[in-house]
Structure formats: structure tokens, C-alpha cells
Symmetry: D2
């Protein structure tokens, strides 16, 4: 299986270049009989779309999803669901074939493939992530209704959210364009990002994802453990450079008796399998790679963290749905 298909029981195959005709996703393995609509995709894509606020890129894309197959009379058929999004606002003239942008994948792609679509990064563009969001829509519908996946901005630059409610909904997180639920910190972040936009600087940050309602038993030893699938899928998103489950790196300096006195540090996963508690993952983003200085007039975000929240939620949903379906094969008596 090649590089553009993800998953085993629920798979997505994605395609498309940033300035090509269209991007899209084919979802295979979705059971039949699930209610699914055009609106579901529109809603999800609008959460990732550029041009949403003053702190994001000025690139305006309607990102209108078109369902090509797999849904009939409002319900899934059990056949592949194909959804495409045509590219519209492509300012190719901002780019040229000999432009190798620092901090981008331009150089390694050129070396690897010999021939590349130099317009806006081609397939290495962050625009590729909309395909993941499309897949996440289907995955979310497959998951049991009491499962919720909520990501939020834990930090951007040196600003770290402190006051986070014990429970969170997507709606609450989306209230602020930074997707940071500590609104005091959120305001500081906004100011800093606006300044970055002016100066051509950029910031990284940390997204935290909470997965609630997952029963004991999801995860496939020994190579498709929940923690492997989850972190690998999150790490695959552009600019991600670190992932943690539960206490992560801070667990390394705790003493064992203390650490194991509660289940909390484990982040909901034991032996690679869900243990019934909330699953907590933290994801590190390095500072955005395209700065004002190295694209001709490239229109990019000073920080991709806020817009990456729905992308990470989608990846988490895909992994969880895959492992949820897999549990149907665990025992003979099921």
C-alpha cells in the first residue's frame, strides 16, 4: 500500500495538488446505513478554511465539497465515498519553478521525484489537509455517539493556556479564532500573531486533544496499538514535530510509585489499548515555515495551530474509527 492511503478497516485515499484542478478523498470501508450529507462536509471544511479571521492567511477558498459517490438518499451505501474540492483562488504567479522556499519541502521533493509541481508546494502544501478533514467527517459518523473528540490550542509561542474547563465542546473552543479556551491567554496570542503578520515572523504551538467516551479495548497489539496509530497519524500532519500521550515527556522524571498511584498519567492508554479513561494527546507544531520573506507574495498564516485543530481531530477520528471497527473482529462471541 502506497503513501496516499491511510487506515486498514476504514481507509482514506487522498489526492490533489495545491494549485491543481482539485483535491479529494476516497473513503473506503464505511459501513452502509449511516446518515451523511453535503452539509456535514461543508461544516467541517469551514472550520479548516483559510480567510476566517485576521490572524489567518488571506487566501480565500470557498472549499466547496462535492460528493461524487457512496451516498444515496442521504445514507451511506457501503461503497467508497468520494468527495472533491476544486481549487479556485490559485495565484500561481506568486510562485516560479526555480523558487526553493526555505523551511519548505520544495528542495526534498525536487530531489526525490525529479519533477514537481512548484506552484504553492504542490502536494506538499498544507492545503492537502482538507482531504483529511473530509475523511474525518465519515470517521466521526462511524464512532459511537457518546465518543467526542475535542482539540484546542494549549499554547502558541510562549503563551500557555492555564484555565481550561474540565469538559470542552467544539463549539466552546471555536468561540475564539485562536481556538484557545483560556480567553485571557487567547487575547495575548491574537495580538502576537497580528504583530507576526506585519513583521513576517511566525509562531508554533501545542494542540491538546481530548477523546472521551472510548470504552476499554480499542487498539491492536503489537504494531497497531492505539498510541502508535494515534501519534503516527498526528505526526503526519505538516509542521508537527512532537507528540505525547498522557504525561508524555514529563512522566520521564517522575518516580514510578507516584506515577502509577493514579491512572491519570497514562492518558487513557495502557499496554497500547484504551483503558476506559479520557485519552489525552499533545501535539507540538514548529513555527510556520512560510514567512513573508521567502515566498514572492505567498499568502500564509503566521501560525497554523488554530486552523490545525480540526485537522488533528479528523486524524484522531480516523484512527479511532479504524480501531473501533477492528474490535468487531476480536472475539468469536461478538
Amino acid at each position: 500500500m502506497r503513501g496516499n492511503t491511510f487506515g486498514r478497516f476504514l481507509t482514506i485515499t487522498t489526492f490533489g495538488e495545491s494549485h491543481g484542478v482539485a483535491l479529494g478523498t476516497v473513503i473506503d470501508g464505511c459501513p452502509s446505513g449511516i446518515t451523511l450529507s453535503q452539509e456535514d462536509f461543508e461544516k467541517a471544511l469551514s472550520r479548516r478554511r483559510p480567510g476566517q479571521s485576521s490572524i489567518t492567511t488571506a487566501r480565500q477558498e470557498a472549499d466547496k465539497p462535492e460528493i461524487l459517490s457512496g451516498i444515496f438518499e442521504g445514507k451511506t451505501l457501503g461503497t467508497p465515498i468520494a468527495v472533491i474540492v476544486r481549487n479556485q483562488d490559485q495565484r500561481s504567479s506568486d510562485y516560479s519553478p526555480d523558487m526553493i522556499r526555505q523551511g519548505h519541502a520544495d528542495e526534498v521533493w525536487q530531489e526525490k521525484f525529479g519533477h514537481r509541481d512548484w506552484r504553492g508546494g504542490g502536494r506538499s502544501s498544507g492545503r492537502e489537509t482538507l482531504c483529511r478533514v473530509i475523511g474525518g467527517v465519515v470517521a466521526s459518523k462511524i464512532l459511537p455517539q457518546n465518543v467526542s473528540i475535542v482539540g484546542f490550542t494549549r499554547s502558541i509561542g510562549t503563551h500557555v493556556a492555564q484555565k481550561i474547563p474540565k469538559m470542552l465542546t467544539i463549539k466552546e473552543v471555536d468561540r475564539h479564532p485562536t481556538r484557545c479556551p483560556d480567553h485571557e491567554v487567547a487575547e495575548k496570542i491574537s495580538k502576537e500573531l497580528l504583530a507576526c503578520k506585519t513583521s513576517g515572523d511566525s509562531r508554533g504551538g501545542i494542540i491538546e486533544i481530548w477523546m472521551n467516551g472510548i470504552p476499554i479495548g480499542w487498539g491492536e497489539p503489537v504494531f497497531h496499538k492505539l498510541k502508535s496509530g494515534l501519534t503516527s497519524s498526528l505526526m503526519g500532519v505538516g509542521a508537527v514535530c512532537g507528540v505525547e500521550i498522557g504525561d508524555g515527556f514529563s512522566a520521564t522524571s517522575q518516580n514510578g510509585n507516584l506515577f502509577h498511584s493514579t491512572k491519570e498519567g497514562a492518558g487513557g492508554i495502557q499496554g497500547g489499548i484504551s483503558n476506559g479513561e479520557r485519552i489525552v494527546a499533545k501535539v507540538a507544531f514548529k513555527p510556520a515555515s512560510t514567512l513573508g520573506m521567502n515566498a514572492k507574495k505567498g499568502r500564509h498564516d503566521p501560525c497554523i495551530v488554530p486552523r490545525a485543530v480540526p485537522v488533528l481531530e479528523a486524524m484522531a477520528a480516523l484512527v479511532l474509527a479504524d480501531l473501533y471497527l477492528a474490535t468487531r473482529l476480536d472475539r468469536m462471541d461478538r
Copy 2:
């Protein structure tokens, strides 16, 4: 593909329970004509084996590998290589069916599968990792000769190595039983682990892996990027709870202009593809889960970090060999 096969172009399928008859690995996809011997496996397994020093578990296993297939007249045949290790020193009487050890996978396995091998964790035992080491031996032979993969103990508990040479060899790292190349810190770690062994406490830590000599172009966008593969493989090892590439979480608080002024923070990977620089991964281990208090007389390490070094090297080798083979399919003119 189910949970016990790893890889796409080079695959390993592993099997075996901690106190069953044997553990083993089947490696498929190894090209023909590679020199490979019994000794190669023995050497690698001896680096992971328990009972090596005062700071590891007292369980004594010869861990004698037996090659069943795939090698003829000292060279690989291009057919599957099967290697098994029989279990010998199994004190099953240390365990009982109703013993659910805290911090272990016992409970979630029981819930997931309904039926489990309760002797020493069965397949969830750390002993499973010897199968990964077997796979790593073959992977290492496939990699170009100038590629080197060296892991070392960066920290255990609160003790962090500071003085690390710019270049390291496995031989140098193995000089100290802690596998910490800062020998001053290594001595402190040794003392602390001996104390843990007495008190029944445990420690976690961080392993750092350096991958040298990898040319530009390894990694398969968009779902089998080098960073995703590494994360999946490293995170899948028991007790691992975090992975970073390059600067990882510390990159999140740097400003973009500074971060992108050098290539170093990227840890050798750009756009998910190797960029020709050293690849650097950091791997967090939570404190060892089996403490003196919750196994009857379970003989376990106070810290698994030193013994995990060759396991992580093996996993890294498997991912790198897989992606190296994949590059043969990148272009038509190759």
C-alpha cells in the same frame, strides 16, 4: 493487515507469549544476496537480554536465536526469514490467573479478548520486543553501509546527560550499563536504579536516537512520511509515551525567523522527507510499570530505558529500510 505485521516493503510478522513455547519473527521482503549469519542475531539479542548487569531484571534467558528459513549458504534467499527464540527460564508460578497487576496491560487485555495468557503478561510482556530486535538485524543489513543508527540514554529520572560527543558509536554507548554516554551522569543513574531495585520503585527516561548517513528523499507523502513511520514504530514499544523529531516540543516556543535560520531544529526531516542531515528523535519512557509490590515475585527492571536502546534502534532500522526500499519505486529512470 492485522496487528502483528509491521512494514510495507520490508515486513516483520512477530508472534509469541512471554511464557509460551517460543517467540519469533518472520521477515518478508528482504532482497536476496545479503550476507547474514546466526551470529548477527546472537549479537543483537545479547544487547537486549535481561540479566546483563546489576541494574536489570534477574530473569536469565539465553535468548538463543534459531534461524528456520530464508538463509542459505550464508546469504539471504529473497524468501521469508524466520527466526525463533525458545523461552526457558519461565517462572510461571510467580503469576496466577486472577492477578491483575497495576500499571500493566492485564486488565485491558482481559476485557478486550475475554481469554488471556496470564503468565507474565503473555504477549503484552516486554519480552515481545526481542522479536523487534530480530527484525532490526535484517533491516540493518539492507540499509546502505554508511547509514548508522545509534541510540543512547539521554536521561533517567531527573538525571540528564549533558556532555555528549558529537559522534557516537554503539560500542561507545554500550560501555556503560546505563547506556548513558555522559559517564558522570551515568554513575548517578546507576546508584539511583540500585536504590530503586531495593525499594521497589522505578524510573522512566528519555532515549535519543541519531540516524546518520541518510540521503535526501526517504519518506512517502502524505501518510508514510519518515516522521510518521518513526513515530509509529517508536511509540509502539511498551512504556513509550512521547516522541519528538528535532527540537520537538521546545520548537513550539521559538520564534519562526530564528527557528528557520538553521536547519538543525528540523531534526533531519522536512515535509516528512529526509533532508540529508542527521535525523534526531527523542523518545520518552514512563517509569517501569512492574514494581516489587504488585507482582508476586516478578523479576523486573527498575528502569527499562537502557535495555530499550537496542529495541528502538531496531524499530528505527525497520522504518528506514522500508522507506529506503520504497525509493527504488520513486522514479522511472532509476
Copy 3:
């Protein structure tokens, strides 16, 4: 990997229902740098298209391919190639939800999935095969230039072609709408099919495929032998009910000394691997399943054999390209 992806090194993922918005194929694993154009797809699809002659269905579909990704400046990028074909002439009114057509998959789909697209068979329609033809275009371009794949009608009903030239080209085969290169027999077939069209009867037949120019060594023991991949892919086409390599069933009654006195009966495959000779496969089609009597006004072919020729060629090309790419991984010295 689910049911709508085919291949390992070169994969196609197909989607689309007969009367839905569009059908399409995503091809992953195509190396970069291959010249490929819109015209290549158009030409291939026109060979499969309905409405070509008096002996095929009256359904008129322009079957205009649209390339969405993976090709830039006339050459492949090494990224997924997505090509879609929109449905146009969909007379859904010919069908109704409660119509279960005899000899069709309607009933088993209903039972399997609970919910189905009842318009023209939905995804079980023969129209699905255009997606395979799209994949075959890319596969053909990957194969070495001296490889040729030519299929032709060996028989329809009781009419069996006898005079077949020793070498054949697609152009020669396409000269007659029946795709039978024995033009005397071809004329008899034409007459019979016209009669069938009037009477609402149908005919099956045999397609023979010749694969020339394949060197020794293609095929992956023990489960991806050339003969497994080839016959499985051919058998997967609708209405196919038998496949043979070389002498096939007639080999079963020959005595061994005679059979093995030449290489011919082996059909170019030994031990599951190509032996350098012409590869010969024969494919049996049962009579077309949709008769005048059981679709309302369903417009269907009295015999699908002629139109199936390019579909089988496409499937053969996909298998061969997959195994050709795989040979790059056979040895270390390559």
C-alpha cells in the same frame, strides 16, 4: 485494505455508482517523470464505451475523463493521479427500488448492505469497469516499452475463432466490432448478436489475452505469483466465470512427458513466475445477465465480450506493472 483498492506497489482505488454523480480512479504508486496526457485516457475509454456499434448497448455516454491531480506539465509527479468521469445519460426512470433483476447482483447487494442504489445496479453495474480502464492507462505507461498486452475474442456462443495470426496488435483486433480477429467467424457472431438483441437473448464467450515481451522473473512467491494476480484480477470483472493460463483445463488430460516436452502449455509462467515466453490467459464470460425481459427498458448489450476486451487488458496491465515494480526489490545489487 478494503474492497475498492487493488494492487500493492501500484494501487488503484475506484469509486462511483452507475447513476451517481461520477465514477473515478485514484492511482497511487506511479513513479514520477512519465509522459501522460488527457488523450491517453480518452483513447482508452473510447474503446470500452457503449454505443460504439449496432451490437452494443444504446446507452450513450461521452465518458469524458477529467484529470484532477498527479500530472503536471504533461508528466506524472509521483503523487496520486485522480481521474473522474461524470455520468450523463442516466435514465434512472428505467429502474425502481423494488425491481430485483434476475441474474443481477441486486438481491445479494440488498441483503448484504441493507441499503442500495437501485438505479442501474449502482456500483455493481458494469459501468464500474471504466475505472479499471483508467487505471490500466497508467499501468501501461509504467511497463517497459517492448511489453504488449493484446486481448481478443476467441469465441462467442458456439462460434470459435480458428484463424488467428501469430502476432496481433490492438489496432488489428479493433478492426471488427466483435474484436474477433478471425473475420469469417466474426461475421457469424455479429449476425447472432443482432438476432439476440431483437429476441432479448444474450451470449457469453471467451477472451484470450496475449502478453508479450515480459522477461523472466515477474511474480512474487508464494501468494502473489503472476498466475494468482493475473487470474484473480481477470476473474474480478463482472460475468467472468473461468480463467486459464496456457493450456488450462485441456492440460489436465495430457500425459506429463508430452506436456513437458515443450514450454508452450505453461503459458509463459513457471512456478508462478514469468519464464520469458508469451503469457497466455483465457477468460470465460457467462451470457450477459440483463435480458430484455427483466429490466424495464434497460439498455444493455446482448454480449459484453467485445467491450470487455479493453477492461481485461487494463487489469492485466495493472497486475503486470505491479509485479514489474516489485522486481526492483528482488535483489540488493539492482
Copy 4:
């Protein structure tokens, strides 16, 4: 996934050379809780074993299976089941490195891999099929109890069984060493094979497989249809050169109205999915390739058809179990 793993939901990975240390199978994806014993494997292997009667090879192999993992207290654990069989009666001296046996895979393996185990065909030996039988044992246990898979010899050479009971059991078929249930024909076959043994000649034949008790709905459109999976698995067995489902090639000359007047000709599969009727497959074997004249003193069967019956049954069981497990993922309400 490389060449030595088969299946998606239930996978087998096999290894081993004819004259190496051992052959074996790792079965992954078997649900937990299934009763399985050493005896199950012994019984199945004894049906394939050489040296059973005067008409088979004189090679004597105890073929003693050893279970290494995956079973505990008589039941499957949901972990990989590894079973090996050591080679014992290996007369390597019968072979030499420069011996290229006509009709064998020796030549193509040499060309493909450059290095091969020349002793008895190495991995290309028919001995490899014992690994498939091991897998079939597990598959059979997974299938619902009312499913039965029975293969029998339909013909050998020119002798075709005519009187076949409407229902058959394995026990009945095994009553005659030819596995031909028409005992009059069976006797003729016996005589001819004994004559072949003396003269160094060989015979091919046809095995027919009946699969009973399979409900509607097994098979995954469009690339993992039941007929594709069966063909791939049956065709992959050495010396097989043709596969038919239902009427197969004889359907091609029937007229459509007649053919579709009953369901029988379809052989239990419609649109690639089981339709609730008995599934019937016919499998053609070319004459055995190793004749007295071209191995030094190679001890081989004049006809492998009788011994191949349990091998084909095993492959059918593997495909059916895989597709049976897959149906658990078809719908949301299951």
C-alpha cells in the same frame, strides 16, 4: 505487503524451504476464544502428507506440527498463532546446485533472485503447501459450524468421475487414496498412476470443491469479490493452471435465456457475492512436473491431485473466513 502473507482480516504468513530447518505459518487475526488443539493440526497435515499410499511419493515426513504461540489452555488468545513443522527426511544429496530441472521453477528462481536453495526446489517445492494446510485449520474453526468445504478428484488424466453423490463429506472422499468418489473411476485412476510411477510419466487432473452453508452476502466488491479471492488462492497452488466457478467455460456456449433460467450455473456467486447456494469451483492441475527422468533420484508423485485436495480446501477456508470476518464490518447495525 510482500509475497508471503495472504489475507486481510485473517492473514497467514508462511515461511520455509523444502530442505531447510523448518516450514511454518503465522496466523494473525484469529479471534480469541476458539477451541484449537495440536491434534487439529496433526489431523489436517496427515491428509496432505506424502507416503500415504502406493500412488504417492516415497518421501516420508512425520510432518509433526509444533504450536509455538497463540493458544493457551486449549483456546485461541487473539494473538498470532505460530505453528512449525521441522524437516526430517531431506535427501539433499539427490540434488546439486547446477541441476536445473525441466518443468520446475529452478530456472526462473535462479534468474529472479540470483541465489537460490537448490535442494529440492527450496521454497518453490510443493512442500510449501503444508503451511497453507496449517492456516486452513484455523480458518475452518472460524467459519460458522454449518459451513462445510469438501474437495474431491473430478478427473485424473482422461478418467472423469461421473457418479458423484449429491452430498459429500471429507470422510467419504478420503475413503479412496485417489480422493475420487466415483470408485469405479477411482480404480482406473489408481492403475494408471501406478503405471506412471513405473514409467516415469505423470498425470494432471481436476479437483472440484463444494462449499456448503454459506449465507448470502460474502464477498467484497469490487476487488475482493468472492470469486476473485477464491481464484487467487486456488490458482496460487503449484501446478494449478485453471479455475472455474459454476459452469465456467461451459457457460460460454450456452444461450442467455437458458443459462439464467436457473441459478445453478452461477456456482453460488452473483455479482461477486455469495447468493446462498452451494459454491462450486473447479481447479485444473497440469501434469506433475517432476518426472523420473530429470531429478537425480527425486522421489515425487506421478500425480499431485489427490494430495492437493486438502490444500485447496485449506485455501478455500482461508478466503471464506476472511470474507466472513469482513461481513462484520458491512453495516452499522450489526
